[in-house]
Amino acid sequence: MLGAPRIWAWRGIRRFNLIVAKENLAAQRTPDAARAEQFTAVANLSLKALSGASVQEIMETAVDKVALLLDVEFTKVLERLPDGDVLLLRAGKGWKPQYVAGETTVCAGLDSQAGYTLRQNDPVIVADLRTETRFSGPAILHDHNVVSGVSVVIPGSKRPHGVLGLHSAGPRTFAEHEIQFVQAVANVLATAIERSEADRARADAFAMVQASEERFRAVVQNAVDMVTIVNAEGAIVYDSPPVQRTLGYDPEERRGHNTLEYVHPDDTGVILESLADVTARPGAQVSAQARVRHRDGHWLTVVAAATNMLNNEAINGIVVNWHDVTERVQIQRQVEDLNAELEKRVRQRTAQLEATNSELESFAYSVSHDLRAPLRAMDGYARILLAEADDELSEMAQRYLKRIRHNAQQMDQLIQDLLAFSRLNRQELRKTELQPERLIADALDALEAEQEDRSVAIVVGDLPTVHADPTLLRAVCVNLLSNALKYTRTREPARIEVGVLQQDDQREGEPPVFFVRDNGVGFDMKYADKLFGVFQRLHRAEEYEGTGVGLATVQRIVRRHGGRVWAEGEVDKGAAVYFTLEE
């Protein structure tokens, strides 16, 4: 890329003697001989570069040769540093000792000759620095009273690597072949620099590969997992060191042996199958569990994952990653045994419970038949006597017969209530979406007799839909309303409220609290815990009839739905029963 050299006329007479001397030196050689020398120098420099000499050596040779052959006092190679602002003196000839190669820097600004050169395609020739208008020239040139010179770019594939410069303290003209020679030297330097950079990149890459291989080796050798490579026939090619730690075989011991030799006879089928499977499909991965023999003869359970890398030139085998799961398998087996034992026990308990349940069932059956039969007879005969022999019986006899009937009927009722109560636990829950209003209306219909000839205000609030067993929830309604009606008998007017508790602090998702409240005779809160017990009564039978099963029934039904029930009351002020139907 050499264009026409620009030559500025030399003016001035400084250092005349020196200049004369130089012209004399140059004149000693014929132009052709000089060109031949220059050509040889470029060729030698190239050979030096090819023979593996360092870039520094080549640069030093270059500055020497250029100074010698072009007969100038100063030569230098400036390297463009990565940030581009500064050039570093890599090699120089003729400069004062304080300008140390490798340490001296030159500004790469436009005002310096080197900086200017970097931005040019062509060599920059200075006839007289003192009259130069393109740039001022850096301190190093002024310090040596440089007058003339040539700077060429050391080209680079991406950006210039630097500048090769030669300078003289005297006025000097440069012939075109001389400038071509300087550029040729710069080009050789460029090639050497790029070669060295490429070498460095290769070396870096190689170092990286080496490091990664070492890491891999370290992983394989120190891992808990064992790595074994087998060939397509199953013969072992490589065992990683963990094989010795786990199975006792040293790394060479198994080489060449077929992997099946170490597998438990009952498991060879699985391994053969897996091996055939993975061998058939390049790149495939197959896992298997098997028992393998430790060097001392005992068996270990291992899990292996085999990868077909037969097509991978570097490996040309099946890579098996495997590890010892003996302990895990043992624990798993224990867990399974425990589970089986637990299930067996659950089955036994269930069977026992079922037996107990069916015993209870038949007990309940006998009770309902056999226990009630004598009561029926007592009641039946008493009824007949009262109906047909009344004229033969004294008033007292008739009264006693009535008491006999009443007691027989009472006991019959007790037995029936108890049976119904015990049936509650065995009965299957059949939950559906229900409108409680309907159930309450049903219950009030069923309790019509209780309301006859009475003034009862029944207020039913807005009730949400519930998810409950209709038969059982109806029983809850009947029991609670029946109680409310019963214990408000003395009130005029009686008032019964059914509703859902409105709580200010009720959180989202909390179940609604239903209540049945009355203005009846109430109860003393100190007996509140007895209310829900079977056959627990707070009133004498003469006052309020009943068997004491109603609230116990309510509690059992509510609990079976997952809810809870509680009551509040005050003597003569009324009572309220609250319940939820879910947790």
Binding site: S368, H369, R376, D379, G380
Partner: protein
């Protein structure tokens, strides 16, 4: 023939229940048309004879059977099943005597073809209800003084 004289067959093992039932019927002069048997086996034998070969004339053909479910030897459900399975007897109305309308066996009895039920102890009002349900007015009409 015997067949004509038996209008009602009462199958009941409890003597008190028998007595109370008979008393209810006797009050309305129905007791002389009632035959009482005390267990399931006896009921079967009374109707089908000692050797039931599944065909031929019946030993006895009551117009109505009052059947207790809990019976010695052959229980009420078995008797019911045999009666309803045999084409000769399946049309005889069977009224179940039960100690409770909550009885689980009652549902089973209906499944097998029972026609009605009476809760014990049997009083005449219940008996009239059952008979009316079945459309057996003649049983009652027989007793009407005018008839």
């Amino acid at each position: 023939m015997v067949e004509e004289s038996v209008e009602i067959l009462l199958v009941e093992d409890n003597p008190d229940d028998v007595e109370l039932a008979l008393h209810a019927l006797k009050k309305h002069k129905l007791s002389n048309q009632v035959q009482v048997v005390r267990d399931g086996a006896e009921a079967i034998e009374t109707i089908f004879g000692a050797e039931n070969d599944g065909e031929g004339p019946l030993q006895s053909r009551p117009r109505l059977i009052l059947l207790d479910l809990k019976l010695p030897k052959v229980d009420g459900l078995e008797v019911l099943e045999q009666l309803k399975r045999d084409p000769r007897t399946k049309k005889i109305p069977v009224v179940i005597l039960t100690s409770s309308n909550q009885e689980p066996d009652l549902k089973r009895a209906y499944d097998l073809g029972a026609n009605s039920y009476i809760v014990k102890p049997v009083d005449f009002e219940q008996f009239v209800d059952a008979v009316q349900q079945l459309g057996f007015y003649w049983l009652l009409l027989n007793q009407a003084p005018a008839a």
